[in-house]
């Protein structure tokens, strides 16, 4: 077991290193840089253009005039030595990329948590039901409902929800907080307010996720249901429900455990679109803006953090799986 963990850890570091290379490369791919964008932004709103001198000057100021490998080296050494991921160009006063990301994470986590909750609450029962009652009308109806969420493009769903709240409840549900409370420090009221606004994004993101889970659960369970040990248990005289949950469901859960690790990064990436439409102060849009503005340290830092989260997540869920499944633990 410990040997296993050690090996995995080593791999992990290697992976992360490669990812730093990749994420930095990705940022450098597009033509132009932050300064080009800045000017473009001005042109877009105003039609005013910058004189070349100022660009040159800006590039110098942001260190964009150096060759890429130098930039990468500086970036890395800052991360390793100073723990600094580099300041954002866009946000002012300049903030360290990771601070920015970290700032948005609590909300992101809350959102992800509730979405996840919704997903599981909807998907697992449906999945189990439609496996146990395979090909029954119930099966069809349940899965149909489960898939609807997947089939509707989520940005549309979000926009429609928002419009409905405006049209029929008089108040469009925008963002995650009411205007008056948004700047207040965290308090019980703020939390309640959050919950009131949370439902649209949770529903939108959640419904999108259910289908996959239903499918997995259904398939895994169908798989387990005809394993001999089920028959053994039945021959013992166990009640069907007890039997179902103690044996096949328990087994069918394992594949989920192995994916838990990716859920957060997945949601962060997946939530971007919804967050943009619903104007949520989550980390997704920060990433998106950073990429659009070529705010390279934030973008690179973000990709790095996301990837590392994934890697660690995978690692953890492998361990968790090992803990849960004796076969892995003991062999």
């Amino acid at each position: 077991m410990w040997k296993y963990i050690l090996r995995r850890t080593l791999y992990m570091f290697f992976t992360v290193w490669v990812i730093t290379l990749i994420s930095f490369a990705i940022i450098q791919l597009p033509p132009g840089d932050y300064v080009t964008n800045l000017m473009n932004q001005m042109t877009r709103v105003s039609g005013v253009t910058l004189t070349p001198e100022y660009e040159a000057q800006l590039r110098e100021q942001y260190g964009l005039n150096e060759p890429i490998y130098v930039q990468y080296f500086k970036w890395m050494s800052n991360i390793i030595l100073k723990g600094k991921f580099g300041d954002s160009f866009v946000y002012r006063p300049p903030r360290d990329a990771v601070e920015l990301i970290a700032e948005r994470l609590p909300v992101t986590f809350t959102l992800s948590f509730f979405s996840l909750l919704l997903i599981w609450v909807i998907a697992l029962p449906i999945g189990i039901y439609s496996a146990v009652r395979q090909y029954s009308v119930g099966d069809y109806i349940a899965t149909f409902l489960g898939f609807i969420g997947l089939a509707v493009p989520n940005f549309l769903l979000a926009l429609i929800c928002m419009f409905i709240t405006y049209k029929y409840f008089g108040q469009a549900m925008i963002g995650l907080f009411s205007a008056d409370i948004v700047d207040a420090p965290w308090s019980w009221e703020k939390f309640v307010d959050l919950l009131q606004h949370l439902w649209i994004p949770v529903v939108v993101i959640g419904l999108g996720g259910t289908a996959g889970l239903i499918r997995t659960m259904r398939a895994n369970l169908l798989d387990e249901l005809k394993k001999p040990y089920v028959e053994t248990a039945r021959a013992k005289g166990l009640s069907e429900l007890k039997l179902l949950f103690k044996y096949p469901v328990r087994h069918a859960m394992n594949p989920f455990v192995s994916t838990i690790g990716w859920i957060l990064p997945g949601l962060v990436a997946g939530e971007v679109v919804v967050a943009i439409v619903l104007n949520l102060p989550t980390s997704g849009p920060v990433l998106y803006d950073a990429l659009r503005n070529q705010d390279q340290f934030v973008a690179a830092g973000f990709i790095l953090v996301l990837s590392v989260l994934t890697v660690i997540g995978t690692f953890l869920s492998d361990i968790l799986l090992a803990v849960l499944d004796p076969r892995i633990r003991l062999e």
Partner: protein, 383 residues
Amino acid sequence: MDKIVPFSEAGSVKPEQAIGNITTDSHELEVASQWKLIWWKFRRHKVAMAGGLVVLAYYIVALFANFFAPVHFETYQETYVYAPPQQLHFFRDGQFFPHVLGYSFERDPESFKKTWTINEEVVIPVSFFYHGEPYMLWGLIPSDLHLIGTANPEAPFFLLGADKSGRDLFSRIIFSSQISLTVGLVGVTLSLLLGIIIGGISGLIGGPLDNGIQRLIEILISIPTLPLWLALAAIVPLDWTPLQVYLMITVILSLIGWTGLARVVRSKFLSLREEDFILAARLDGVPQGRMIFNHMIPSFLSHIIATVTLAIPGMILGETALSFLGLGLRPPVVSWGVMLQETQKVVVLATYPWLLYPAVAIIVVVLALNFLGDGLRDAADPY
């Protein structure tokens, strides 16, 4: 965004769904061909059957878009900008006479808002299988036959309304299916091949190579796709058409999208490796490559099909999501994603709700594909 990566759900594809235990007791069935069994099993999933038919219908429409669409997707009538859908009437004073009624608008001088009034007098006959706008089917066969429409090109015929340039939404939805239903397939196929080959090698040879491949997969799955899209979208040559650009990106993405399937294939191979017939083949000295394709692939071809079926809806939705972010296809290409881009505005929901029809088209086909995929996967391993 994950939706874009083909096989992102491959992890959920599960083998071994026996066909009720009678088969286990019967010799005859072992003789029956695997495909026959899959078909038998598949038939039991009624909704999947329905889904299959719907999907079939979609692809047929896409194939003969010019025929099914009343007009070409670029044809516009400047006086019918944002014209609402017309109701198709089948009878007039008793006898069968399919027609729509003409209408005209008043524009509010201040808000520029159009208010449309139907003119009962202007009766526009609607004909089926009529000769209208000429076109080249598949760029080869000249024809002018259309399923439904009005012979008079001047007269308005907007079953699903008109868009911001006075183009027929119905026709555009039909033409869009050509792109939306196919553009992702390239990527899907590519990652399919990669997944099988790499996964197969990894599972067959094992050892350090396998280990290396596992690391590679680990790295690839930890890279978020959104940044990749943004980066790639920005670096394509200027003279590429939006279609080429999109195709290129999907292909590149498929280069990292194969991981899901590879994992499945690998584990599958690991288990297969132990099985007798493979061992036998080994002992007979069958070369690796041939072994993979002649012996192993067939043994789980069925899930691969299921996986692909489930990857397609992902790709369709991915296309819309990317269009939303302005990274996907762009006009003048017409696809469902491009059409939905128009609808991402409150003003559309409020004033031109019929622009949402493309979404309906998407929802239906995505549902159909999902059920089809489920059915296929259920049927995948009858043994």
